[in-house]
Point group: C2
Chain length 452, copies 2
């Protein structure tokens, strides 16, 4: 894992001087995961040469799947149809599906028509499962045993499967309808006496998921019960066993879900990454910013209701952003604790009602403290006791409401089966802005004669 | 996985009616991961009874380790010293260290003195490694082979180790100084002819980490190279092999790191969770809010510089939060993309300079669009062309700077080897506030005669 910039520079120099033999050797030495970052530093011409070399060594497919998926369109674009088909044919089902999704509509049929029949069929079957379901992430390669088989017979079966899948961890015991009965950890098989039968070795009734289950649910099971693989069954056909999802795929799901949560809190789309073209980022960010512009003008309209007071006491204009801003900060803190708590299942360790009461209490306590400090600062700065009082009161009210909303909004979204992270940030800060301005300017208007 | 609230209710009723026999059966049926959430719904008295039952079945230790660690202090508090020692003695090294960390200082020596000598020694050794290092997360239980051993001899060795560790995935080949030479996937061992020697079966020079490496680095390796376990070596003693970190521990690290990132962006401490007592949450949130209060008053001071303009044109007071707020939104979007990109290693696929240029371009494009829209809205609302122009210009400037800062701040923190998520939110929004107010009120002051 040398710095990718350095390796890229060496690679470019080798390509420029035409010594492809040495470039080839350099590429051969790198793990696909270390190779992928190099591709992004190359010019289109250099990229074409490097991809050629990778194809020659049958390493193109594995390397491309190490790229952040958002970079695939650029690569697919530089490759002719037959090369794209060649990549697809070398991938596992889940990677195949992902790759195909990034092919532009107008080229898809052309590329897919070049696939070998077996691969076409595999792809067609997998596409029947809903997006981001277990059925799309599973591998259909697994070793099935039956209950009467001895440990020795099971080991012979593994030998017969050949040497190309080192990551088999569990063997699956099925009945004659191919229904899952139990799992045998490979380690247990090795340690067992050769004549023991699988029925006695297996862990009966293992956790499994239907093919339609969301990958996020699978990831939660793996994390919760420390599993290394989860069998996938066909709930529509007598619970026949279909495949296995392994922990390495689950790690990607966990990372993706966390990114989704972080992104949704900031109003970002998942396709908007460090390396995506600026035009795409602009297109993805604008809708949310325009929505925010609308809510910002709504708060401005609330401020406008108090135009007379602002004209009379200019200090109000100076201090009102402090109240609204602090309300937003407090609200976002609560919101973050709650949405993350929902994602991690921590909410199981409390209840919605208890959570709301707690966050409101925190809001009151924090509001009183920040209110006293803010009020004192306002008093010392502007020399008016009543101004300090107005700030203190409105800050306490706003931060209490911020605590309540920061919990209520994501919990309500969750109860409505919506993503609790998506949109809750805008809702909470819009309301804290409005409440902040309204309470500060409202109380100030009541006390306006004392503020001059 | 029935709803924990329901199971808690059943459990409480069983306890209340004194039929501990049936409560015991209910508890025995549950997986520790499903049992843990029940504990948080119980009164202190009920908790004591349930813990008694769990201790009787030697399930207390495994159940407690399924609790969110932040809940441990409450439990440790209700248990006498000998019970706490009993829990520790049953844990794996990494869980042991975690549990001990949550024991209050004043009880620690008392509890640790009750541990069996071997466990004390194990704990003492593990504590020599730095916090959240590989040395603290590894298990020291692994099967070591030598290069000359045959596949059959290796299998016999696994049999001799007994049947209690189903999660062995790899066997480690070491030389006579116990230096790591290679790994043999257990599946490959099973498939091999019995007389083949380990030297021919092993994958040579496997990826390993020194015991001092940060767990986050280990997690990155596991995710990058799709590993199931990483050997840990002693870089200070001839690279002797010390232990193994398995993928289930890594999943916890990945989840924790993601939480840390999300939390740091909102200025939260990791100990502040859904179920932590309100008093702790208040204590943890106040410092960041007080810091924000300081920066909010700094922006207010900037606004105060334009007191005369605000007195003349009250519309400025009404519209200025729009500019500052939109700058903040844009800045946080960029900041989120960059910090997440750093965490996921996506920054490898670009470079710091390219990233900054891109984000600034996005800022300009987004600023121009939002500026035109905002300017138009201001014009139609207040009926003054120049007010629209002021809003347009200041919004474009502020959002360009927001894009630049949103990239520059986390990249700089990273270059200084600081956490790019920690504090960057405050820095970015403080500057966007100040730039927003300053540019809007500054340009307005230059054009003040046109605004009346």
């Amino acid at each position: 894992m040398a710095a990718p910039q350095l390796t890229t520079r060496i690679l470019r120099r080798l390509l420029a001087s035409g010594v492809t033999g040495r470039a080839e050797k350099l590429l051969a030495r790198l793990h696909p995961a270390d190779l992928a970052p190099l591709l992004s530093g190359l010019s289109p011409d250099e990229l074409r040469v490097v991809l050629d070399l990778l194809f020659r060594h049958h390493r193109a497919a594995t390397t491309l799947m190490e790229l952040p998926p958002e970079m695939l369109p650029q690569i697919i674009d530089t490759l002719p149809d037959d090369r794209n088909a060649d990549v697809i044919a070398r991938l596992e089902t889940d990677d195949m599906l992902e790759f195909v999704e990034w092919i532009p509509e107008e080229r898809r049929d052309g590329i897919l028509s070049l696939l070998p029949a077996a691969k076409s069929e595999e792809l067609r079957k997998a596409e029947l499962y809903p997006a981001s379901s277990a059925g799309r992430a599973m591998t259909t390669r697994f070793v099935a045993l039956n209950e009467e088989m001895t440990a020795q017979a099971a080991i012979d079966r593994i030998r017969a499967e050949g040497d190309d899948n080192d990551s088999i961890l569990y063997l699956y015991v099925v009945d004659d309808q191919f229904r899952l009965r139990g799992v045998v950890p490979i380690r247990r098989l090795v340690a067992a006496r050769p004549d023991r039968v699988c029925r006695d070795l297996m862990i009966p009734d293992p956790i499994s998921v239907p093919a339609e289950a969301d990958q996020e649910e699978v990831a939660k099971l793996v994390a919760r019960y420390n599993l290394l693989a989860v069998p996938v069954i066909d709930a529509n056909a007598d619970d026949r066993m279909l495949g296995v999802i392994t922990v390495d795929d689950v790690i990607d799901v966990i990372t993706e879900e966390a990114t989704e949560d972080i992104y949704h809190l900031a109003g970002l789309s998942e396709e908007d990454r460090v390396f995506t073209p600026a035009t795409l980022s602009v297109r993805k960010r604008l809708p949310w910013l325009i929505l925010n512009l609308g809510t910002a003008f709504t708060s401005a309209w609330v401020v406008g209701l108090f135009e007379r007071s602002l004209e009379e006491v200019v200090a109000l204009a100076i201090l009102m952003p402090v109240v609204a801003g602090m309300g937003g900060n407090g609200g976002v803190q609560t919101l973050t604790v709650i949405t993350r708590g929902i994602a991690l299942g921590e909410i199981e360790f409390s209840s919605g009602f208890r959570t709301m009461i707690k966050e409101m209490s925190v809001g009151i306590a924090v509001g009183l403290t920040i209110g006293v400090l803010g009020g004192a600062m306002a008093y010392f700065w502007r020399g008016n006791t009543y101004l300090g009082v107005v700030l203190f009161l409105s800050m306490t009210i706003t931060m209490t409401i911020a605590g309540l909303l920061g919990a209520l909004v994501p919990l309500t979204l969750k109860a409505l089966r919506q993503d609790p992270a998506l949109g809750s940030g805008v809702i909470v800060t819009t309301f804290t802005d409005i409440f902040g301005f309204f309470s500060f300017l409202g109380i100030a208007t009541l006390l306006i004669e004392k503020l001059n």
